[in-house]
Amino acid sequence: MGPLVPDIISGNLNFIAALLIGVLFGMVLEQAGFSSTRKLVGLFYGYDFTVLRVFFTAGVTAMLGVIALEHFGLLDLSLVYINPTFVWAAVAGGLIMGLGFVVGGFCPGTSFCAAAIGKTDAMVFIAGAFAGVLVFAEGYPLFESLYKAAPWGNPRIFETLGISQSMFAFLLVIVAMLAFWTVSIIENKVNGVKEKPVRFTPYYIALASAGILLAGSAFIFTGRKASLLKTVNAPGFAQDYKLETMTPDEFAYRLMNDRENKLQIMDFRPEEERKKMNLPGATAYTLDNLFEKAPSRALLFRGKINVFAAEDELTERKMAIIAEKMGFKRIKVLQGGLNEFREQILNFKPAKTASKFELENTYRFRKKAGREIRELIQKAKPSGPATRKLKRVLGGC
């Protein structure tokens, strides 16, 4: 499961990866024509829209790739750097960079490429860029309040807009295709080309079909969490789903006699509930943990029986179904939830007369278990989270 850094690739190997990625980045940019300032700026005067085509195609490709990897559980997005949102810094910084683009004719990445093949104007630009960073660094006290104003955290664009991830991705691909079409018309007009910008040739038909396929894929690769949640929340689905269960009696027995340390309780209750009653040896767990690289590993320990616990069985069932659909095994739900467990074991009140011999045994067990487990609960430490979260990689520019 990605990202491979820092678990699989770490330390100096990461820097070698950086170098290799950089080499490929530089090659693609240069091959695309980003080492020429006139080609870059053409975007803003209508004579060459290469930048828009490359940039938009790359963005859409990578975005759908991220969506697909996440859908198949191959990428843990909680560990991926999501650029933070600081509204006014983004607005002001963006406008300053935009002015810099038309005045300087480059952006930083493209200026590196151009300088590498000997463009002297790009070298001048880079010198200016160093000066700019220095200006910001030295003037930081002046910029600081703007730099840190209106922090929104790390929201995703579809959350901000209040639409589904699929819908946003779909719309973006459509907008990109329309933009490609429009700019071809403008480009031909500005350059005096008589040819129609889009014709029925195999090339354009292939391009359009690829675009339509990409746009449609946005709806196939739905956000994994969102789609699983939708499935389990469908009326009746979770109740009827076949899951392994554990009776309150067995749960109590295992709580008291777990010498082999087989029982692993995933406590899905919210924090305030957990504070009221600690479950001995339980791990605090959330829906999100199931999708996270490090915490979800706990479910893979060999020889453990994973019992999902929540106040009610329905919540347990939903979480267990999601876990099962994600390929985790040996998961049981506590029958009737902790509500039932409380009633049956902790606060057990036998009916006046025990009519049958077996029932008498059960009653005796429950009374004893209730007493012992109440003590265990008293002694239990508050359940910690699944695993300390790995830190997000520090990214950005």
Partner: protein
């Protein structure tokens, strides 16, 4: 206007997208460029005026976030790679050689002043906006970050908005 043949734009974009995707999968972060400028600037200031670098907030914040020193930085290595890669590509496609590029009606002095000023604006803007076209706009779009996409929109809005006033430089 095509002196040398460049790669098809959509193909180049697709390859760039795959590279960005691979980068995110491998490292958990996108591509970047202006971060390398920042690292080098910090390194230069730390070498030239260590007392100042130890006192000013910007450098102190930077040092707190980057334990291995400013040069042992992912983006610095990546930027070295970009220079290498672009050089290789230029070599292969026969585009190497010193050349000063400017608009047809711009004077050399105008272009030098423009490049310097433009670079300076990018230096400030990319710090303020937490990334440039690569780190904020492109990588931000890939992970659908609100902040990244917002920065992208304003970069292009700014460029289109100001383009008319500096057209002498280019057309």
């Amino acid at each position: 206007m095509k002196e040398t043949k460049y790669m098809n734009s959509y193909l180049a974009g697709f390859l760039l997208g795959l590279l960005l995707l691979a980068t995110i999968f491998i490292t958990g972060r996108g591509l970047g460029a202006s971060g390398a400028l920042k690292s080098l600037t910090v390194a230069a200031v730390e070498a030239a005026a260590p007392a100042h670098a130890g006192a000013a907030t910007f450098y102190k914040d930077y040092a707190a976030d980057h334990s291995g020193g400013p040069l042992k930085n992912w983006l610095v290595f990546e930027a070295i790679g970009v220079l290498l890669g672009a050089f290789i590509s230029g070599l292969v496609s026969d585009r190497l050689g010193f050349k000063f590029e400017k608009g047809p009606s711009a004077t050399t002095r105008m272009r030098v002043a423009g490049a310097l000023t433009g670079g300076l604006l990018w230096g400030v803007g990319a710090q303020l906006g937490r990334g440039c076209t690569s780190g904020a706009a492109l990588s931000g779009m890939a992970v659908m970050s609100t902040g990244g996409i917002m920065t992208m929109v304003f970069i292009f809005a700014g460029a289109y908005g100001f383009a008319y006033f500096v057209r002498k430089l280019w057309i």
